[in-house]
Symmetry: C2
Subunit: 242 residues, 2 copies
DNA sequence: GCAGCCACAGTAGCATGTTACGTGCAATTG
DNA sequence: CAATTGCACGTAACATGCTACTGTGGCTGC
């Protein structure tokens, strides 16, 4: 059971700890692991055919990131992402990524523009094919590239961590292909403004994009969890000031 | 040495892992551990008289927080905090804490005001006694309380993690007692505005406070590391847009 | 029927053995 | 003398044994 059989494809550089983290993240978005249900380190280690150490290490890091929660002597569970959480996360992204777009515009280069155009083309392709996984992956890359161009390396890490918490909602409920081309359409002005070096416009476009996406996800979270909340009011509560 | 003797006092809540994290943090600010030098898990475990597991766990979490860095099969080292890092960190805090001050003002209550006044009194006392440790501890509590009142729980975690990275600079170089009363004087308007429910004023005062502190720390970092940089220019580079 | 007690199962946390790998050094060779 | 290769050492990463603790369900007594 714990022997190193076929599954042990080490996949260069990728430590078992990282693999565990990816496995859990992936299992959550695919629904393989239920939110709220208790799991144990023992169980997961056996399932993956590895020992408890890397499993424990990975889970500890996921706990640090706020994705899971340990219940003392009972196991761990995936923390449900409430509409409040979604609103808070997007208020954060507004605070961080809107200024980053402005800064990225000021640091615009031809090489950067080429990267953006490339990413945009791929996104269009993914959207037409309706490939959700790929689309969201590219979406993240666009945002990451912007943050990188803005020289905000710490923000990159923070935003990437926040993304984990929202993705399970995003992928599971955003089944509308219409949303994909819509989101794509929101990216264009951001990229265009950055490439043109127009900071204020880039910031405004980014704000628009994040606001739309955030409001959409908040609404989806509310309906998915059968809650009786006013999405607009909730959104306003959390984004006031940002 | 490694046998389960008297040291096995269960000690509520405080796990060995946490103790390790605190030890490393403390050792860094006191200069007991040199920035950039290689240390090993083995070494540290023996020094603390515990096994490698909790040491490793704690260091892994510190790595996640960005305080240390593992070099595969070589050991770990404390990551140096460059003036650029300081500037980036404060640009982040500006983006997060200024809106939080505004939100806190909107959520002001008498109980909150009492907490603030209490903290302020303690800070004054600490400043007069020149107790740096205590002062910075209280400073952090003030900021934490503001974030808490603003309902930004994720921001609390993020800011607290950022603080670790700047503290080693702050404590080791900010030896001037003048700075303490100065910082204290900057807190007053923030607290006052929050208690009065005046959001805009609270935000402006927080911006002022963070700007001053950040610029001071950037300058200190530059001189401490004997670099030839213009603090104002560096500061402007990182805080544009925030 | 209810409350308190107790025994049980499962878990987190810690200790320690094991393995494979990166690094620097020294010996060897062209 | 310089470059290359082989080797020894120290380390991270992983595996696994162990123990104390805690929440849970069944049992007993009232």
């Amino acid at each position: 059971m714990t022997s190193p059989h076929s599954r042990t494809l080490p996949q260069r550089g990728q430590s078992l700890t990282d693999q565990v983290m990816n496995h859990v993240r992936h299992s959550v978005v695919t629904g393989e692991m239920e939110v709220g249900r208790l799991y144990s380190v023992y169980q997961l280690a056996e399932q993956l055919g590895i020992s408890r150490s890397p499993v424990r290490d990975g889970l500890l890091r996921l706990e640090e990131a706020g994705l899971i929660e340990f219940s003392r002597n009972r196991g761990f569970r995936v923390i449900p992402t409430s509409p409040h959480d979604v609103a808070e996360i997007f208020s954060l992204r507004l605070a961080l990524e809107v200024p980053a777009a402005l800064r990225a515009a000021h640091a615009s280069t031809p090489a950067l523009a080429a990267t953006f155009n490339d990413l945009e083309a791929h996104m269009r392709s993914a959207a037409e094919r309706g490939s959700l996984d790929e689309f969201f992956d590219l979406d993240q890359q666009v945002h990451d590239t912007i943050l990188s161009a803005a020289g905000s390396n710490r923000v990159r890490g923070i935003v990437n961590r926040l993304r984990d918490s929202t993705r399970l909602l995003g992928v599971s409920t955003a089944g509308k292909e219409r949303s994909l081309t819509e989101i794509l359409g929101e990216h264009a002005p951001v990229i265009e403004a950055i490439n043109a070096g127009k900071g204020q416009e880039a910031a405004a476009a980014m704000r628009e994009h994040l606001t739309r996406t955030g409001q959409l996800l908040v609404s989806q979270a509310i309906t998915a969890q059968h809650l009786d909340l006013d999405p607009d009011e909730l959104w306003r509560d959390y984004t006031t000031g940002y």
